[in-house]
């Protein structure tokens, strides 16, 4: 077989020409772009699967920031370990503003109570840009259980079963704390996510579950489940008639919060531009409507406040679980 030399030369030339195009728009290796920010697309990573509330929030914010800054903001889903995987990856990226992460508070405040040291994520290697919204948990009871209030719960003589949305979730923490503080006996039954937990309550497979408000509201409105208590600081505007655990005298403020963050070390001007873009997006009517539809309460606080609040919550939950001898997981 002949070795067509000409072809080989052509091939090699073509290959090297291709290699020379390395500078063109690839996403391999760190590209420290100096100059005006933003100089290219901004990747917004989400640590949850596509379609969930965190993902939808990310997409809304991404679209808004894209409009404001004039560059594409693609959303990339990297689910795994409740967001730990994605957060650690982004925290290790260069802090030039081209990589953002949408944070779930539970990863910082609750998950550390349930996982090992090396899986724990802290805000120390992140620069938080802005807090976004709050998503509350509500405890609902099945119609058949006959429970309509916290008093009913306390008076009950049966051992009740309580569904949670998994280990290390706000749902599990809130319920565990409430039961411990109110001295109620119950069996915790974990499910994979909110949906099966809610279904189980609807069918009276378990008597109670703590679910995120957005998921539970349609069933509450339809009268299929009865709201017992919410775990927010103040009464939730979407469920004004339901008391908070705090009101009832129990120290269980557990909510899910979301914030936008970047790797630590953002230059001041870059951060300012991002904060501005986010603020403008949050002010838009479409964002407000989005929050309404998904039953999110806006919590648009500055990055510094986010860090303070979340770290405070993390400490508080740690103290509470130790005080009441609660173990979210058996490590």
């Amino acid at each position: 077989m002949n070795f067509p030399r000409r072809r080989a030369v052509l091939g090699v030339t073509a290959a090297s020409a291709l290699l020379a195009l390395t500078a063109c728009g690839g996403n391999v290796g760190s590209d420290s772009s100096s100059g005006d920010f933003p100089s290219g697309p901004i990747t917004l990573t989400v640590g949850q699967a596509a379609g969930g509330s965190t993902d939808l929030i990310a997409r809304t914010m991404g679209a808004g920031i894209s409009d404001q800054l004039g560059v594409p903001v693609p959303v990339v889903n990297k689910p795994g370990a409740n967001g730990a995987l994605a957060t650690k990856e982004v925290a290790a990226m260069p802090a030039d503003g081209s990589n953002l992460i949408l944070l779930n508070a539970s990863l910082i405040t609750i998950t550390p109570l349930a996982v090992s040291e090396d899986e724990t994520v802290t805000l120390d290697n992140l620069d938080v840009i802005k807090g976004l919204s709050q998503d509350d948990y509500v405890m609902v009871a099945s119609k058949e259980s006959g429970i309509t209030s916290l008093d009913d719960l306390k008076k009950s003589t049966k051992t009740l079963t309580f569904g949670t949305t998994g280990v290390g979730t706000g749902s599990q923490l809130a319920q565990a704390l409430l039961l411990a503080q109110a001295d109620i006996k119950g069996t915790e039954v974990p499910f994979d996510s909110g949906s099966p937990a809610l279904t189980a309550v609807m069918g009276n497979q378990v008597q109670l579950s703590t679910i995120q408000l957005g998921e539970a509201k349609p069933q509450i409105d339809a009268g299929k489940v009865v709201p017992v208590v919410v775990f927010s600081d103040e009464r939730n505007t979407f469920l004004p008639d339901v008391p908070t655990a705090l009101e009832e005298g129990y120290d269980v403020p557990v909510s899910q919060y979301r914030a936008l963050a970047a790797p630590k070390g953002l230059p001041e001007d870059v951060k300012a531009k991002l904060v501005d873009a986010v603020d403008k997006t949050l002010a838009e009517d479409s964002t407000k409507a989005f929050n309404e539809k998904n039953l999110l309460t806006p919590k648009e606080i500055s990055g510094e406040e986010v860090v303070k609040q979340w770290n405070d919550l993390a400490t508080k939950y740690k103290d509470l679980t130790e005080e009441y001898d609660i173990e979210l997981s058996s490590k």
Binding site: A50, D55, Q205, P218, D221, S329
Partner: protein
């Protein structure tokens, strides 16, 4: 149902040109997505959600639903042509569908799958139309004990379905169960078999395992086999099922529709179990069960019909109760919420136009799918004409690049390659990947629900038998498990009775 008027109004909605267009777009996108392994309908729908913001709710849902079952069919195409099951419910199709493709009957397989899917979907929609409220309540009665019983039945079916060495099939199935335990235990938070790797924290996903064992395993095997086997030419004869094939499949399609419809309603896992159940039923009913695994057309007709029927009926819990039955339904649920529509018990009452519009769009979508499948089958079959040496790297790259898109993770790609090697070795040593994958899917269902049942029942195992549904399922389990032995005993007695009657005849005639 009092009057059919809302249903007919619903047809009016669907036949609106915009809605028809969006239906077509959805089905086409769905099919393309289904053909590309890795990127599933769930992720696609999430990505395409913004497209739905600017249109009417009905139109949006029609498109999303189109993507959903378009993707189902796309998954079938890769199962048959490339031995790559796109979803858990397509795994069973691989058993006979891929063999049929090798025999030059890819067109038959794909055609039967299209027809079966159409009929299954249609039957399911009719069932939905008339039975939705009744059946929906049924779904709520399924608690952890019922799911445990169902999963047990599923595992039993896995053992029934596999050909070849039974012991090896069981070993493979047990490995599937073991693989399902990796990751964080949702009951205690303990990390099982993760070896400190964060990428394993949530366990292994179905898609890398299936793509590795079936797809890459087959590719590696073919690298060797292509050179070893003498050229046995096969005429790529037919591009559409023959009349005989159709006749042979009618029973399978009928049974598959019913099975799929009822099992699909159950939140979580209905489609996979329905495809397995359909295959098992067909194999048991067949006069010559040894044909299965060697290109029996019922082995494609039954499961494909069932999984499409199940996919359609999985809309029932969503639309009537507001409960999403699987990940894709959850996203459609979110899409509906964004549109300001709350799926649930009040949907039929508050917005009948939307409800019936969506339901009827599925009917139209199924027709569109069938119409498009006709020319497309011919196109896809041509893919098989490509030389093996060229097709191999293409398939390998599709699989690897596609697997990256599941979670945007290189770790998943590595898993696919590793499972590819495992799949190759399994084939060389005589183990089948089917039982492993199916048991994997059922494994987590079984363990989680078993433990949940113990919690819910307070440790009282008797509760399994006092609850009507789980008791029924367990009885079926026992029957199916013992049936072969009972049958064997019966046959022996029959043959001995024949012997004695023959002897008597001989005596009488003597």
């Amino acid at each position: 149902m009092d009057s059919l008027q809302p249903v007919l109004d619903g047809f009016g909605v669907v036949l609106d040109p915009t809605n028809l267009l969006y239906c077509l777009i959805g089905v086409v996108i769905g099919m393309l997505i289904g053909v590309l392994p890795g990127l599933g309908p769930a992720a696609t729908i999430a990505i395409l959600l913004p497209l739905t913001y600017g249109v009417e709710p009905v139109t949006a849902i029609i498109m999303l639903a189109g993507i959903f079952y378009g993707a189902q069919y796309g998954g079938t195409i890769t199962s048959v042509l490339l031995r790559l099951p796109g979803e858990a419910s397509s795994v069973v199709t691989v058993f006979d569908g891929y063999v049929m493709a090798k025999q030059g009957r890819a067109g038959t397989a794909l055609g039967i799958a299209a027809i079966g899917s159409f009929i299954g979907g249609t039957v399911s929609i009719i069932g939905l139309t008339f039975l939705a409220p009744v059946v929906a309540g049924f779904a709520l009665d399924f608690g952890p004990p019922e799911y445990t019983a169902l999963a047990l039945l599923g595992i039993l079916l896995v053992a029934t379905i596999s050909g070849g060495s039974k012991i090896k099939a069981l070993i493979a199935a047990a490995f599937g169960l073991l693989l399902a335990t990796t990751g964080r235990d949702i009951f205690t938070g303990a990390e099982r078999f993760t070896f400190g790797n964060l990428g394993m924290a949530d366990g292994i996903d179905f898609v890398p395992i299936a793509m590795g064992l079936f797809g890459v395993g087959e590719i590696l095997y073919n690298l060797e086999e292509r050179h070893r086997a003498a050229a046995v030419p096969v005429k790529v004869a037919n591009v559409w099922p023959s009349r005989a094939d159709l006749k042979q499949s009618t029973g399978a399609i009928g049974r598959g529709s019913v099975l799929g419809f009822f099992l699909g309603i159950l939140p979580g896992g209905g489609a996979t179990i329905s495809s397995m159940a359909a295959y098992a039923v067909e194999k048991k009913r067949a006069k010559d069960p040894s044909r299965f695994g060697r290109g029996a057309v019922e082995g494609v007709a039954g499961p494909e019909t069932a999984n499409n029927a199940a996919a359609t009926s999985s809309f029932i819990p969503l639309l009537t109760l507001g409960i999403p039955a699987n990940a894709t339904m959850a996203i459609i649920f979110g899409a509906l919420l964004i549109q300001g529509v709350t799926p649930g018990p009040q949907l039929i009452a508050n917005d009948p136009e939307l409800f019936w519009g969506v339901v009827n769009s599925m009917y139209i979508g199924n027709i569109l799918l069938l119409i498009m499948a006709i020319p497309l089958v011919g196109v896809f079959v041509r893919i098989l004409r490509v030389r093996g040496a060229i097709l191999a790297p293409i398939t390998a790259l599709i699989t690897l690049l596609g697997s990256y898109t599941i979670r945007n993770s290189m770790f998943d790609v590595l898993l696919v390659v590793i499972f590819g090697a495992v799949g190759y070795l399994m084939k060389k040593f005589g183990f089948e990947p089917g039982p492993l994958v199916l048991a994997f899917v059922l494994g987590s269902l079984l363990e989680s629900n078993l433990r949940r049942s113990l919690l819910v029942l307070g440790g009282d195992v008797g509760g399994f038998f006092t609850r009507p549904i789980s008791a029924t399922l367990l009885v079926i389990f026992v029957v199916v498990a013992l049936w072969p032995m009972v049958k064997a005993a019966f046959d022996r007695r029959k043959s001995s009775r024949h012997e004695t009657s023959d002897n008597q005849e001989v005596k009488e005639n003597a």
